[in-house]
């Protein structure tokens, strides 16, 4: 099966060059590691230390043992914030994955208007979350927004004033913003699939749908895991969008973990409990990322090209 040389060659060349690279690889990672240490590890240690103290951000820092931890862990607000975070995560994953997969697959084909469509699809990715939030807030305003302006009663909901609607709007805006990014990932994933597979399946009489489910989808397994990891871990840190769009409201219906952390730390001046939440965020993020890697099978490096 050497009909489809380019992808196979690319893969094998990567393997050989990686094999001869064992020496330099370690120090090539050094700049990245230094950055990560300075802006990731050291602040993380600082936050961990702060979580065992009492500090209002202005005065002196007092050691407080496990006080902040017990306060936060006993607070029903934490369970609620975790639940909201999980809901946003799960819903935005469930909404984004199929759509970006389909758009990605479509963009990978040789279609006439593909290039133009690709550019249009990527526009939302270029906008800042804060700007998006302000725009959507204005559009969804029940009295001065799109619904009121056009006189369409269906659009005239209290979009950000009802618990479920507000959560739905958040998920929608998040998805609207990030589907282009994930489509890009899927697009490149699809292009890596050898066309020989499709040609072979065509000879065997497989239709387009069958091809999608039997070739495209299995071949995209690792792309799906990568994209899901980014979605899941990324959704833990959604802050700017929620902060501007709903400020955690109505009530505390959209108060996710990152927002809860900000409110405790910078609005209520409770740096100790805020640091506890930051640590919890880090732990949840690490746990989820590891879990998703595990879902990819015990040996994620096994080849999908066997027999090709």
């Amino acid at each position: 099966m050497t009909t489809l040389a380019p992808p196979v060659q690319r893969r094998s060349s990567e393997q050989t060059s990686a094999g001869g690279r064992s020496g330099p690889v370690a120090w090539l990672a050094l700049p990245a590691f230094l950055m990560f240490a300075a802006f990731g590890i050291i602040p993380l240690i600082g936050v961990l230390v702060l979580s065992f103290t009492q500090w209002d951000g202005i005065g002196d820092i007092h050691p407080a043992g496990f006080d902040s931890w017990t306060t936060v862990l006993k607070d029903p607000g934490l369970v609620h914030a975790l639940w909201v975070t999980f809901l946003i995560m799960a819903l935005s994953w469930a909404f984004q994955t199929p759509l970006s997969l389909l758009i990605g697959v479509y963009l990978a084909t040789q279609n006439r208007y593909r290039e133009i469509l690709a550019v249009i699809y990527f526009v939302p990715l270029l906008l800042s979350s804060a700007a998006l939030a302000i725009t959507y807030k204005a559009l969804l305003d029940p009295n001065f927004g799109l619904g009121a302006g056009l006189g369409i009663p269906l659009l005239q909901q209290d979009w950000l004033g009802r618990d479920n609607l507000a959560l739905g709007v958040l998920v929608f805006v998040v998805s609207w913003q990030f589907i282009p990014f994930h489509s890009l990932i899927y697009q490149s994933g699809v292009r890596q699939i050898p066309t020989a597979m499709y040609e072979a399946s065509e000879i065997d009489g497989a239709g387009r749908v069958r091809q999608f489910f039997s070739i495209t989808l299995p071949q995209l397994k690792y792309t799906i895991i990568t994209s899901s990891t980014l979605m899941v871990v990324g959704s833990l840190t959604f802050f700017d969008l929620i902060f501007v769009l709903t400020a955690g409201g109505p009530g505390d219906a959209t108060r996710a973990l990152a927002l809860d952390m900000y409110k405790r730390g910078f609005q209520a001046n409770l740096m100790g409990p805020a640091s506890v939440i930051a640590v919890i965020l880090v732990l949840v993020g690490l746990g989820l990322a590891l879990l998703l890697r595990r879902l990819g099978g015990r040996d994620a490096t096994e080849s999908q090209m066997e027999g090709v």
Partner: protein, 445 residues
């Protein structure tokens, strides 16, 4: 080797997600990078204040006038947008990098500065300069005084919260403005029947909801109800007047007293004011600082005299004094204790000679605001907003009690819990009794 690639990818994937969270958490430790900190040693004093018209221009002019008169001891000004400033000033003070002159709201935030030993005690300075103190409204000193000592110079303008109403909306349904709480509840179904929302409210901002409780607590139980909370008395929120006020608030919400979708409207976007001047809502409880915005954006709404205003109506059988009001009794300038002796001298000279000098007073009046200086009524008649200015002046000067807004009077920690619980109350998610229980837990924080 494959393993090496894996771990690198893994590492990057994790660091991207986690790094963002950590960066967010670490924001608190980043002080301002500018050299305008208090410890720079130069004679020039630094001064941070808020942007936004008309205050920004007036503050800048005052600084410029001072700098022209005192070429040897200048003040350098840096301006910040409101919300950014709140975080920035806290971080700067915490890092020992505060400006010489700290612009603030007094009350609970000032108390936290005082407890950290970050601001100068100005009690003796006011003793020596009685003339400075005596020309200001006495009510403005409450929020500057912590445990009997004065830590800030009251400045700028007085901003009580008043009940605005749209006269055109009242004409439309042929009704009169409310004179009691009973009238308010009677007006609600009438306005709703005419497809006009009785009250505009920017509920997402939370402190907007709080203003309702401030007035109802006062009108029902008198100013001592919140005073007990402020003094940290145990279970002070359990006052019967509190329960009654909270129940009445929820009754108003259940009767559709507020505009549909109020919990997603923010005050920052001025959408609540727009509802009033476009006639979509008939009344609005808001600070007098909204007057300028409505005059500027509302077309002929203000200039044609369609905007009505009054103090909050009394509640039948309530104990509170009908002249009581709440709001901002002034703005507050403090001096950083970390500043050099020279800088502190400059700041005090600035307080004495430039702050609320005649030129600044005139600028505030021209901008439609009432400076906290006694005897400025005569200047009002020249203004096109003379009636409103007189109303604000009289409301402030005649108030038996001018209470500071709760979220500014309480510590930031208690204020945040308060605002949270108020938002829940307005969503009808918690009962008045739960609200009281939750809030009693914050007393002394």
């Amino acid at each position: 080797m494959e393993r090496n690639i894996l771990s690198r990818r893994n590492f990057l994937g994790l660091s991207m997600g986690v790094g963002a969270g950590v960066a967010l958490a670490a924001c608190g430790s980043s002080g301002p990078g500018t050299g305008s900190g208090g410890g720079s040693g130069a004679g020039a004093a630094s001064y941070w204040f808020l942007t936004g018209a008309p205050g920004e221009g007036i503050r800048t002019n005052t600084v410029n006038r001072f700098n022209q008169a005192n070429p040897n001891s200048k003040i350098t000004a840096t301006t910040f947008q409101n919300d950014a400033y709140k975080t920035k000033i806290k971080t700067a003070i915490g890092a020992g990098q505060a400006p010489t002159i700290i612009w603030g709201w007094g009350g609970g935030t000032l108390r936290s500065y005082v407890q950290a030993g970050q601001v100068e005690d100005l009690t003796s300075w006011f003793g020596e300069n009685a003339a400075v103190k005596d020309r200001l409204f006495p009510s403005s000193f409450g929020a500057a005084t912590i445990d009997g000592k004065i830590y800030a110079m009251p400045a700028e303008t007085v901003q009580p919260i008043v009940l605005f109403y749209n006269k055109r909306a009242f004409e439309k349904i042929g009704a009169q403005p409310p004179t009691t709480w009973g009238d308010v509840m009677d007006l609600v179904p009438k306005f709703n029947a005419a497809k006009i929302a009785p009250f505009s409210l920017g509920g997402q901002s939370r402190w907007t909801n709080m203003m309702w409780l401030e007035f109802l607590f006062d009108r029902i139980g008198g100013s001592e109800v919140f005073q007990a909370v402020f003094d940290g008395q145990k279970d002070a929120w359990s006052h019967p007047a509190a329960l009654q006020a909270l129940t009445m608030t929820q009754d108003l919400i259940k009767a559709d007293g507020f505009i549909k979708g109020f919990s997603s409207i923010t005050a920052d976007s001025n959408a609540d004011q727009a509802l009033l001047y476009t006639g979509k809502a008939a009344m609005m409880l808001h600070g007098t600082w909204t007057y300028g915005g409505m005059a500027a954006d509302g077309g002929d709404f203000v200039s044609s005299g369609s905007l009505g205003y009054m103090n909050f109506p009394p509640v039948d059988g309530g104990k509170g004094d009908v002249s009581d009001t709440v709001g901002n009794p002034g703005q507050y300038y403090s001096i950083s204790s970390k500043a050099t002796a020279e800088q502190k001298e400059t700041a005090k000279k600035f307080f004495k000679d430039a702050v609320l000098a005649d030129a600044e007073v005139k600028e505030w009046v021209d901008a439609g605001a009432v400076p906290i200086v006694k005897g400025t009524e005569s200047a009002f008649s020249a203004s096109k907003d003379a009636d409103f200015l007189k109303f604000v002046y009289n409301t402030s000067a005649n108030a038996k009690t001018f209470a500071q807004s709760w979220d500014q009077a309480l510590s930031p920690t208690a204020a945040e819990k308060l605002l949270d619980n108020i938002a829940q109350l307005f969503q009808l998610k918690i009962s008045p009794q739960q609200w009281v229980t939750n809030m009693n837990g914050t007393i002394g924080q």
